[in-house]
């Protein structure tokens, strides 16, 4: 539990190292939220597509890891690449067959269509795997907690921070520093002009969508332990949180989503610890206030109007 970092019963809320532990917990949760929702930030912010079915890809990734571990005995770390790849492949198939027809549709149509997909994905998962949560048993080397300078932190949380941080850095470098990233940003700014200059916008969007779906799957796999197992209600239960991340961060790029996710993670963990009486109210209030002050998110470019 949070706040047990300082040994010898010194872990009252005011204690500095308890606060640091809490902060690290928040960062770990935020990093997890980032990987879960950065694909959504990309489709929403870069491709202008409201994909409420994003959580379904996360659920798929979680199931891939849980089933491979529990039924085939594959080690946890070895399942993670597959938790990325399988949702990515499913994503690209759906993008080519269904999603691409709706890129120009109204936001309402996109919302309805993707909610429809969620409504299909949840009973399908229930039908195939039952409504019991699929638990993930972390390998022993990821369990337990260590102390760094008196500040205790779970090893799995450190692992999450490191892995997700690396993913965030890689994505940012990729978007800013590579030719693919430049093409993507060009296609987003003005897809007609970009295709006129020889950029294959169709393929670009398909690949981007696949990567976003894959990352959601990876996020689902990493989150499975934290949320107490993957079950069929996952897509809807975590959709709201993912949308809040993207909304707070401002949906145009990796960094916005990262800051949004970290802010939300820290606020949520700290809020539930210090003022449990108002619970999740904090994050909803933060979102609404953010939208009042800056309708396009805290980290959006321009004046945010």
């Amino acid at each position: 539990m949070a706040g047990q970092g300082c040994g010898g019963g010194a872990s009252q809320p005011g204690c500095v190292c308890a606060m640091l532990t809490l902060l690290l917990d928040g960062v770990a949760y935020g990093m997890l939220l980032f990987v879960l929702s950065c694909g959504l930030a990309v489709t929403l912010g870069l491709m202008n597509f409201i994909n409420l079915a994003h959580g379904a890809f996360a659920m798929l990734g979680g199931y891939v890891t849980a089933l491979l571990m529990n039924r085939a005995g594959v080690p946890f770390l070895a399942t993670l690449p597959l938790a990325f790849l399988i949702p990515a492949v499913v994503g690209i198939v759906l993008e080519r067959t269904l999603y691409r027809r709706l890129y120009r549709a109204s936001p309402l149509d996109q919302v309805l269509f993707t909610i429809g997909l969620v409504f299909m994905a949840m009973p399908a998962a229930n039908f195939l795997l039952g409504d019991q949560p699929q638990q993930i048993h972390l390998p022993t080397y990821l369990q337990g907690r260590i102390e760094i300078g008196g500040v205790g932190i779970g090893i799995y949380r450190l692992f999450t921070i490191a892995l997700c941080g690396a993913i965030a850095a890689a994505l940012q470098i990729f978007l800013v520093g590579t030719r693919f990233g430049a093409r993507l940003r060009a296609a987003v700014d003005d897809s007609r002009a970009a295709s006129g200059l020889g950029v294959d916008v169709d393929t670009l969007f398909a690949v981007t969508f696949a990567v976003g779906s894959g990352l959601a799957g990876l996020g689902g796999a990493l989150a499975a332990d934290v949320v107490g197992g993957i079950d069929p209600s996952f897509p809807l239960k975590y959709l709201v949180v993912m949308l809040i991340v993207v909304t707070i961060g401002g949906a145009n790029g990796i960094l916005g989503a990262l800051f949004g996710a970290l802010l939300l993670g820290i606020l949520d963990v700290a809020g539930k610890y210090y003022v449990p009486s108002i619970g999740a109210f904090i994050i909803y209030a933060v979102m609404v206030v953010t939208l009042i002050v800056r309708p396009r998110g805290l980290f959006a470019k321009g004046d945010g109007r």
Binding site: L44, I50, L98, R101, L102, A105, S106, P107, L108, D109, V111, L112, F113, I115, G116, L117, V118, F119, M120, A121, M122, P123, A124, N126, F127, D131, L236, L239, V240, L243, I244, T247, A251, S277, I278, G279, A280, F281, Y284, A285, M287, V288, L291, I292, P295, R296, R305
Partner: protein, 317 residues
């Protein structure tokens, strides 16, 4: 101007098929007393969908948080009933106040940003209210729900689940739905309603023509919230149940689906869509209880891919 007035007057006239529609509902309630509870649920959901139609269909402003007002109305009716003022009509009137007030206060949030911002803000407000209801258990009973009983309507007609109670409840809901529907219909065919249509089609142009678009959106949103509040109160009174999941995200999503299935913008869409949605759920869920959502989802996907505008365009004028 004369032409507009004549056009509106013609549109305002009730057509034969509309009379047939409402009489058919009465006939259905009379013919299937055993299914009265289900029919009542359809009518309440129909009123809820009608409330969304005012803002989404007529005005073209998206909302993914209408459950906020439904829940607010339901809890208001339940709390006043638990406190002793348990007349059903009083409960409906009481529910209007907080729902309309919250609608009025949150409406300015809808005036800025894009559709996505509106979806998020409305959703956020609903979630906040749900969390408030959850944490203020002294008032709402929290996860345990509230214990309350509603007095018979006019002191004579019981709305409980025994005997003719469900039938009375369905007729009561129908009466409330009809009155509010007639008001909404009158509104739609008034100059005010036409100006809403104008700002739905093109807000910039409507503004340039001298329509105060912001004030109209705020007004319609508050009205829509009041309608949703009444629907919630009706639901609480006729089922004698309130629970925290009234504020859930999926409630807001469901009502939007009902409206879309029936077609937005012509008022009857909400009522028909709600009946279809709950009818399908009833039939499918008795066959496969856990999987009924799948078929609703499939219906939506097909509806969007086939072009939902085209399917209902024939009926709305």
């Amino acid at each position: 101007m004369i032409d507009v007035a004549r056009h509106l007057r013609r549109r305002e006239r009730w057509r034969l098929i509309e009379f047939a529609f409402w009489l058919a509902i009465v006939a259905v309630i009379a013919a299937f007393p055993a299914r009265a509870a289900l029919i009542n649920e359809m009518l309440v959901a129909g009123l809820f969908a009608l409330s969304l139609d005012l803002i989404l269909g007529l005005t073209g402003v998206v909302s993914l948080g209408h459950a906020a007002f439904f829940g607010l109305g339901a809890y208001t009716a339940a709390i006043t009933a638990a406190a002793g003022w348990n007349d059903p009509l009083l409960g409906l009137v009481a529910a209007i106040v907080p729902a309309a007030l919250v609608g009025l206060l949150t409406a300015p949030l809808l005036l800025r940003g894009a559709d996505l911002t509106r979806l998020m803000v409305t959703m956020g407000v609903a979630l906040m209210l749900g969390e408030l209801a959850n944490k203020n258990a002294w008032l709402t009973g929290g996860a345990d729900g509230l214990n309350f009983a509603v007095a018979p309507l006019f002191g004579r007609f019981s709305l409980g689940s025994m005997g003719v109670g469900p039938r009375n409840a369905a007729l009561f809901s129908l009466a409330v739905l009809f009155v509010l529907f007639a008001i909404a219909r009158r509104l739609r065919n008034s100059p005010f309603g036409v100006s809403l249509e104008g700002l739905r089609e093109n807000r910039l142009r409507a503004g340039a023509l001298g329509v105060d678009t912001s004030r109209r959106i705020v007004a319609v949103y508050a009205l829509s919230a009041a309608y949703a509040g009444v629907a919630g109160a009706l639901s609480a009174e006729t089922t004698q149940i309130v629970s925290l999941d009234l504020f859930d995200f999926h409630r807001s999503a469901d009502v939007m689906l009902m409206l879309i299935i029936g077609g937005a913008g012509w008022l009857y869409g909400g009522v028909i869509g709600a009946a279809m949605f709950i009818g399908v759920r009833d039939v499918v869920s008795s066959a496969t209880p856990e999987y009924w959502e799948f078929w609703i989802g499939l219906m939506l996907v097909v509806l969007v891919l086939a072009g939902r505008e085209r399917l209902t365009a024939r009926f709305r004028r």
